[in-house]
Amino acid sequence: MQVAIVGAGTMGADIAQAVALGGDAIILHDIHEHTLRQALGRISRGIDRGVSLGKIDPAIARRAKRVFTLCTDLARCAAADLVIEAVPDDLDVKQTVLRALDDIVRPDAILATSTNVLSLTVLAAATRLPERVVGLHFFKPAAIMRLVEVVRGDLTRQDAIDGAVALAQRMHKTPIVVSDAPGLIVNRIAQAYFGEALGLLDEGGLDAPAVDRLMEAAGFPMGPFRLLDFVGIDSAFDVAQTLFEATYHTAPYRPHPRLRRMIDAGLTGRKNGRGFYSDG
């Protein structure tokens, strides 16, 4: 199958790595040539790491590195059977790209969008054929995490769902079909993990490392605060805020004020070296 991936940032590159290992041919698009080069480097390193850890067969790795066609011209995506849009998670940006793709690709091609917080149904509304638009929600790091939430919009047709599920399976992921709802399944439930932990800090007597230690001893690979730093305080806040707005400010979904303060202070987590923990 010919897959096109639009947007070669970290998420796009990590998705491309898993698609390539699944054996599909890839047209990788980005508006910046240097982003494409960086993406290819990241993918190559990711595949090599998998081989050295014994998780990827060397023959499959060699083949996966040869499936890429790079382009900065969106029109090249016309050849695709399935397009995954992985541009920044902003309604205007995503709708503009989806609208453009809608004109470029064949009417029977599937349009997949990798959104974290936006409604799939609303994104699909930018196209003439919303029936073929499906959501693919990957988890960071997308090259490694097994789960993919395949999002069914209000108008999505079953064959688009089936095509997305089949692709996720070829990527050696575990697809779970979910309906379009704020936070989908995982992000919504994860809010409780973060929310309870933040609430405990408010009551005093515990700090972030103490809570993390207790949760890690209970089998969580990362305690809630280490995980917040890892996903980014701003990303976590975006999800919380989206849930809160989408539920018309229902009390259980009120984001914790501490997250807002940390974002305003630039303490957004691991990516800038400071969050609940600081590097070095």
Partner: protein
């Protein structure tokens, strides 16, 4: 030591096994059996001769109150009472007793074993003697003892019950299957087990009891137990211990 253990499966039977492995003499009573007057009389007799008592009944505040009063009124002076601080804080429990100084809270979350840790929460009233005996007791069983502030649910039961509550709300509101929801949290967030599987292991009544305590204590709407969770408890589908919760289980071998 002569240890009295009273409360719910799987907390009390697991604890009894751990205590027996350390050569403690254990009198074990399941809270469900105490409806039988003869069993209740036996429990009262066992309380009079115990050197330490462990309570783990968290299906409701009222059930816990009844049991704590029954145990504590009959215990010898100086014997500590270790209360599972899920459906009430240790401080609240101590307030129900005659000798509040002997009450010390703890928190365990199934599945647990002495290779893990126990949350240790002295009440505001706990006296020094009871706290040091309790701490030594947990340590000698092999647990790592981690002191946490006293509040309903302590740390891990509170966070996990919060996750379960949101998972059940999500289950009810979407078309996702029970298995898919559990898999989503394991493969999407690396949770050690799916929230609904975990709920079945803890006992849905204990989850509801813990959430109700948190709601009373903190007054936050998010602790309101999910309607589906309550329905399951009304139906007696309490999880693994009754053979049916979110999943169904083979009956335990006799």
């Amino acid at each position: 030591m002569r240890v009295l253990i009273v409360g719910e499966i799987p907390f009390v039977d697991t604890l009894a096994g751990i205590c027996r492995a350390k050569n403690h003499k254990v009198d074990l009573f399941l809270s469900d059996d105490l409806e039988d007057q003869a069993v209740l009389d036996d429990m009262v007799r066992a309380a009079t001769r115990c050197q330490i008592a462990i309570e783990s009944l968290n299906e409701s505040q009222s059930g816990k109150l009844w049991l704590i009063e029954g145990i504590e009124a009959n215990m010898p002076a100086g014997a500590p009472l270790l209360t599972s601080a899920l459906a009430a804080s240790a401080t609240e429990v101590a307030g129900w007793t005659e000798h509040a100084g002997r009450v010390v809270g703890y928190g365990l979350l199934p599945p647990f074993s002495p290779t893990g840790l126990v949350e240790f929460a002295p009440a505001l009233q706990s006296d020094f003697e009871a706290v040091s005996t309790a701490r030594r007791f947990w340590e000698e069983l092999g647990f790592e003892v981690v002191r946490v502030p006293d509040a309903p649910g302590l740390v891990r039961p509170r966070i996990v019950c919060g996750i379960i509550n949101e998972a059940v709300r999500t289950l009810a509101a979407s078309e996702i299957s029970i298995e898919d929801l559990d898999a989503a949290m394991q493969f999407g967030m690396n949770f050690p087990r799916g929230p609904l599987t975990w709920a079945d292991e803890i006992g849905l009544d204990v989850v509801v009891g813990t959430l109700e305590a948190l709601q009373r204590y903190l007054g936050e709407a998010r602790y309101h137990p999910a309607p589906l969770l309550r329905q399951k408890v009304y139906a007696g589908h309490l999880g693994k211990k009754t053979g049916r919760g979110f999943y169904t289980y083979e009956p335990l071998a006799p």
